[in-house]
């Protein structure tokens, strides 16, 4: 680890920088990668400069390739000593569906362009598959280290650190752990300049301490609200609001919408059995996006009855948006009762039976005039 400290104010940043002496980096602490290219990691030659960078970052929203267009808020920065770097390496551990195992990866081409390296020169990514019974072994770590061109003595100590990282990965139910870059300094030290771990959401039930650390303010407010209810929502920039069940069908339907020359306002998978109250909450989330001018509601074969879903939709519709065109495709128990409820609600509903009809209906619909 490089020397450094956290700061929540520019003054604290200056104090940390003074303590470190010499040049340092000011790093925005957010839930996203791609920070360096987005200006979230800045070099400062003096404590005064560090204070200035901290003042610019703290309280701002950082937009990187991995965030939405609104970015994520920066509450704190990390002040870290600037090192004289000889080489940048990459270390990563991931649960790999292809190998059906945990795989430890290493590359001599670490740094900000590691994804490009993986695409263009996959041979530079070395990997070792881990047997879950015996765990990651030191020889596998040495093999990776020597493969990256490190001298044998360095390889031995790095292998020990890889084993430790693997043990943390297992103990904390991670889906990803990576050190990038792992740098070799000019004075022969090995330093982890940046590290990330992702904890498997599905395993949080047995890690209450980790679950409590989640900072929902790092997510888009609507995405956070949806996520807390088990709804998967991603805001996009079109005008067709989408409320669907099943990630695969939702993705495929968005392909069809785009193929017809329209643009989805969001991805939304209501998830887990499509219960009526979840559909209602999902509808209110979709409608909070003022860019939505027409909506496709498509719930097929969920556990909820169609009449319950219909009631939930009617309740979720705010008075000022009752004219919004709704294309509705439902399949399930009590379908006719559900249709009757929507028909009698006074909402602007068009029922369709097939995906093709749904797309055609969306194309024919004039978007509702914007409501003041």
């Amino acid at each position: 680890m490089p020397r450094g400290g956290l700061a929540s104010t520019p003054a604290e940043a200056r104090q940390v920088a003074e303590r470190l002496g010499g040049a340092c980096y000011v790093k925005a602490q957010v839930y996203a990668g791609g920070r360096a290219k987005a200006g979230g990691i800045r070099k400062a030659a003096t404590p005064q400069e560090a204070e200035g960078h901290a003042a610019a970052l703290i309280g701002s929203r950082l937009v990187t390739a991995q965030t939405g267009p609104d970015g994520v808020p920066v509450h704190r920065v990390l002040i870290e000593e600037a090192l004289e770097i000889e080489r940048e390496l990459y270390l990563g551990i991931v649960v790999d569906g292809g190998a059906e195992a945990v795989v430890v990866m290493a590359s001599s081409a670490g740094g900000v362009d590691i994804e490009a390296v993986a695409r263009e020169h996959p041979e530079l990514i070395l990997r070792q598959v881990v047997d879950p019974v015996v765990g990651f072994q030191p020889y596998q770590g040495r093999r990776l280290a020597i493969g990256m061109g490190l001298p044998a003595a360095t390889a031995r100590s790095l292998a020990r650190q890889m084993v430790s990282l693997y043990e943390v990965f297992i103990a904390k139910d991670c889906s990803l752990a990576e050190i990038n870059p792992l740098v070799l300094t000019k004075d022969g030290r090995m330093v982890a300049l940046d590290a990330k771990i992702n904890v498997d959401d599905d395993a949080l039930f047995r890690h209450e301490d980790l679950a409590a650390l989640r900072d929902w303010s790092q997510l888009d407010p609507l995405e956070a609200k949806a996520g807390q209810a088990g709804i998967s929502y991603v805001k996009l920039d079109g005008d067709v609001g989408c409320l669907m069940n099943g990630a695969g069908l939702a993705m495929a339907t968005m392909d069809a919408i785009k193929g017809a020359g329209l643009a989805p306002a969001n991805f939304l998978d209501v998830g887990g059995g499509a219960a009526a109250e979840r559909v209602s909450l999902a509808m209110s989330i979709v409608l909070q996006d003022s860019g939505v001018k027409r909506v496709l509601l498509q719930v097929l074969g969920g556990v909820a009855r169609c009449d319950d879903i219909a009631t939930g939709i009617v309740q979720a519709m705010p008075p000022e948006r009752r004219g919004l065109p709704l294309v509705v495709r439902l399949l399930g128990t009590n379908l006719e009762e559900g249709k009757a409820i929507l028909r009698q609600s006074g909402l602007n509903v068009r029922f369709v039976d097939t995906l093709l009809e749904a797309i055609e209906a969306l194309q024919e619909l004039q978007p509702a005039p914007s409501t003041a």
């Binding site: 059906e100 993986a118 993705m251 392909d255």
Partner: protein
């Protein structure tokens, strides 16, 4: 004939006594599935609908009720345990519906099952249905299916229903529909399902439904090119226009490189001779027209 499930399937329901287990057990019974037992620890001695005995242990369901297949509705924290209990009791087909099993639990399960003669379908899948055999081992809506000679294998739940709905509307019946599940770590993959369909004399063609992420579609393409599957294949890949996922770190993209993209999967399957379905609204029509020339 069909694959995986048929008239000889004697089904055990693990987690029968929960809400989802009861709902779908009733549906499966109504479809004609031969359900011989349930298993929930602590609920042994009960019966479901007055006819399906519930046991505490899977071992008893196998030895006393003769179960030879199992469907699992056990909640995620106990699901890996339920899979391993079924395998240990000698069940040879295990269909796991449960969603949200920790990935590291599945790493251990798949490692353990690799050395055993067990077929696991799922987890996080809709299950398996053979309409001509009146055998449903899953949570799919029964009424959209129609007996016939086209197999369906898919990573997605609701997109499978969409595909089957369109096939039936187009007059194309199904031999067996298999939802392999959307998680990175699943038991049966496209390759294993295609191998079973190849050997099934009542399947003429297969519809494969894939999506972005992972390399399972490419593995299917390699299997076909190596001669493992020689029947007609129609393929749809979902997620062509999906925005790049928001994520932290790089390892997901690094492990698969370009293979995770929909375009890479389509290219691989096309090269293997599959007919690519141009969009999700055209599944039924594409297969109907394709099958006319190959009656």
């Amino acid at each position: 004939m069909s694959i995986l499930v048929n008239k000889d399937t004697r089904l055990l329901v693990q987690g029968l006594t929960g809400h989802q287990g009861q709902f779908h057990t009733a549906q499966m019974l109504a479809y004609g599935t031969n359900i011989v037992a349930g298993a929930t620890p602590g609920r042994g001695g009960q019966t479901f609908q007055g006819k399906v005995p519930v046991y505490d242990e899977v071992d008893d369901a196998v030895h006393q009720a003769g179960a030879n297949a199992s469907i699992i509705f056990v909640p995620a924290p106990g699901a890996a345990d339920a899979i391993l209990e079924a395998a240990d009791a000698g069940i040879r087909l295990i269909v796991c519906i449960t969603e949200g099993i920790p990935a590291l639990d599945m790493v251990k399960v798949l490692h353990t099952l690799r050395e055993q003669d067990v077929t696991l379908v799922g987890p996080n899948c809709p299950g398996v249905i053979s309409p001509g055999e009146h055998c449903r081992v899953g949570i799919m809506p029964s009424e959209i299916h129609k007996p016939g000679r086209v197999g369906v294998v898919s990573r997605s739940g609701t997109l499978t229903y969409e595909a089957v709905y369109q096939l039936t509307q187009a007059g194309v019946g199904q031999s067996t529909c298999v939802g392999i599940g959307g998680d990175p770590l699943v038991g049966t993959t496209f390759v294993e399902a295609l191998a079973l369909f190849q050997d099934d004399t009542d399947t003429d063609a297969v519809v494969l439904i894939g999506e972005i992420g992972g390399i399972k579609e490419q593995q299917a393409a390699e299997f076909i090119k190596a001669g493992g599957f020689k029947k007609r294949l129609f393929a749809l890949i979902a997620g062509l226009t999906a925005p790049p996922g928001k994520r932290m770190g790089h390892a997901g993209a690094i492990i698969t490189g370009k293979a995770a993209l929909a375009s890479s999967k389509i290219a691989a399957l096309q090269e293997a001779g599959a007919t690519i379905i141009s969009g999700p609204a055209y599944i039924g029509e594409t297969v109907r027209r394709g099958m006319m020339g190959h009656g």
